[in-house]
């Protein structure tokens, strides 16, 4: 079974994670631009972060046989630094046309402020102009209201719902998101977002149409194998292989290949992992062969 993790912050993860992901069958990942855990203070820091998403991080993932894509955007939290936000918004066209950029994102609301709304609107217009899909981050607090408000603004700007993935859904939001024609993504993240047993129940209730599973694994307590573990749990609880394929692999391709930049052929005919690309004493793998046999952890994420 092949898997895609269409939302994972690889820059915060180790090479051990990449090895385990590749072993578990993850063939491609999408890394959305996000907040790094502390606020950036200069536009240059954003420039170099975007640059690494389209450059070195893509290369690093490739060393482990994983195709790396990203989304570029100004996240909601940092949109509140208005002086900085203007500079970052001006910088986006420099990065949005890169080869591995599959969407504008992750953008949306955090505190539901006017500054956040302005950044969201500017970036929706950019996505429309460049014909790129959009990845929407929905807030942890006041989630339902934030989710509905995001969709209202998207419709006001004339973006087609099939071009937009609404992420971090839960039992409260997903029906409305699906009814309005959007892709509904679910983040399997310990303690704060979605557990994978709950995810199985959602698929049992709503089916697999337009539903996408991701991990959002980042610098917090999170799990880069969340997608594969959820896929296995679905299979063990009687969900058909076809539905697992759709929610954990194919739907992400259908949604993000609307950019024309997320083609299955990229990883079905992959370059062999070229260890000779690595620099002795200065390499990603430090000259070591990846160590197989990662410990098996509990498969339940709650």
């Amino acid at each position: 079974m092949r898997y895609i993790d269409p939302h994972i912050h690889c820059s915060s993860r180790t090479t051990d994670d990449y090895e385990r992901m590749a072993e578990a069958g993850i063939v491609a990942v999408i890394e959305p631009a996000f907040w790094l855990g502390q606020p950036r203070t200069t536009a240059g820091a954003f420039h170099d972060y975007f640059s690494s998403l389209v450059g070195f991080e893509r290369f690093r993932a490739g060393q482990f046989g994983i195709k790396h894509y990203c989304t570029i955007g100004l996240n909601a939290k940092e949109a509140n630094n208005e002086r900085l936000a203007e500079e970052v918004l001006d910088m986006l066209p420099l990065f949005l046309a890169k080869d591995n950029v599959v969407a504008v994102g992750e953008i949306g609301f955090d505190d539901m402020t006017a500054a956040e709304e302005r950044a969201l609107r500017v970036q929706l217009d950019l996505a429309k102009e460049l014909e790129l899909p959009v990845m929407i981050h929905t807030p942890h607090r006041n989630k339902k209201k934030g989710t509905y408000r995001s969709m209202d603004i998207i419709e006001e700007h004339g973006l087609a719902p099939h071009m937009v993935v609404i992420d971090h859904n839960n039992e409260e939001t997903c029906k409305e998101v699906l009814d309005r024609g959007y892709w509904a993504a679910f983040t399997i993240y310990p303690k704060t977002k979605m557990g994978n047993q709950r995810m199985v129940d959602i698929v049992k209730q709503y089916g697999s149409d337009r539903i996408i599973v991701d991990s959002s694994a980042d610098w917090g307590m999170s799990d880069p194998l969340a997608v594969t573990k959820t896929g296995n749990l679905m299979l063990s609880q009687g969900i058909s292989e076809e539905d697992v394929q759709l929610t954990c692999y194919k739907n992400a391709i259908s949604a993000y290949n609307q950019s024309g930049q997320f083609n299955e052929t990229d990883w079905l005919n992959p370059q062999p992992i070229d260890e000779s690309r690595l620099f002795e004493g200065n390499s990603v793998l430090r000259g070591q062969r990846p160590d197989p046999g990662a410990p098996q952890e509990d498969e339940i994420i709650s």
Binding site: S51, V54, G55, F59, A97, Q261, S276, R277, E280
Partner: protein, 284 residues
Amino acid sequence: MLRSWLETAADDAALAWLDDRIAKVESGDESALYLGFGLAPRKVGKLPLELSSLQLDLAREARSGWNPSTWNIGQAARTLLLLAIPSDDPGPYFARLEKLFNAAELQESVALFQALPILPHPELLVDRAVDGLRTNVKFIFSAIAHNNPFPEEYFSEAAWNQMVLKALFIGAELDPMIGIDRRVNPTLAEMLIDYAHERRAAKRPIPVELWRMVGPFADETALEDMTAILADGTELEKQAIALALAASATDEADEILRTQPQLAAQIDQGKITWSGICAAAYAN
């Protein structure tokens, strides 16, 4: 010339898009440059150019040492956009290139570095090329170092020497470096002899191409190491040592080479060459 290569490689709609972009870039439109540079492969094409030997000959005639044999369609389109940047005033021209370099993804970096030999104001781009070699990505290193006349023409001796030494460290070939024999120098030979000696002391293999730059300057330490390798090295190592000895003008080197009449004869007959040794070393 580049534009004519695309005539056969891309369809009319793609060429129309490209020509429109080129006109905008020529008129000084910055955002058309940055977006166009990114979009070029998806708009014009991603397949290899597959230039004929005649086309490659013409390319070399147009610019000595220029070898676009590995180029693809999108890269050619990107290069045309670079050539469209107004360059009469070096200040703004350089600022635009800087912006492209600073935001470049992997394939864009390759296109930028492989365009160096045909861009205007090359002297402004030397530091950028030297800095590019500090990369951790081998194919970007190769875009600068291999089949590219720029380093030979513009690099200081120190920068050239670092490029050669780093190539050996990262397992990049030396034979495709244009000017590899013309730019030998005693400082480089000394660095390489030290490196070879260090590798021998650690019982680690020595890259066979290293001896190519050592030959003309082989000192006592080097000759000792070379003699030892002639005694216990692999067949390929022995060939490389013999070829390096043949390039040395000293009596000591001649004497050592005479102990290997078979190898000496093969060298005289042109059967052992650095290109052959490089190909064999990187054959796997």
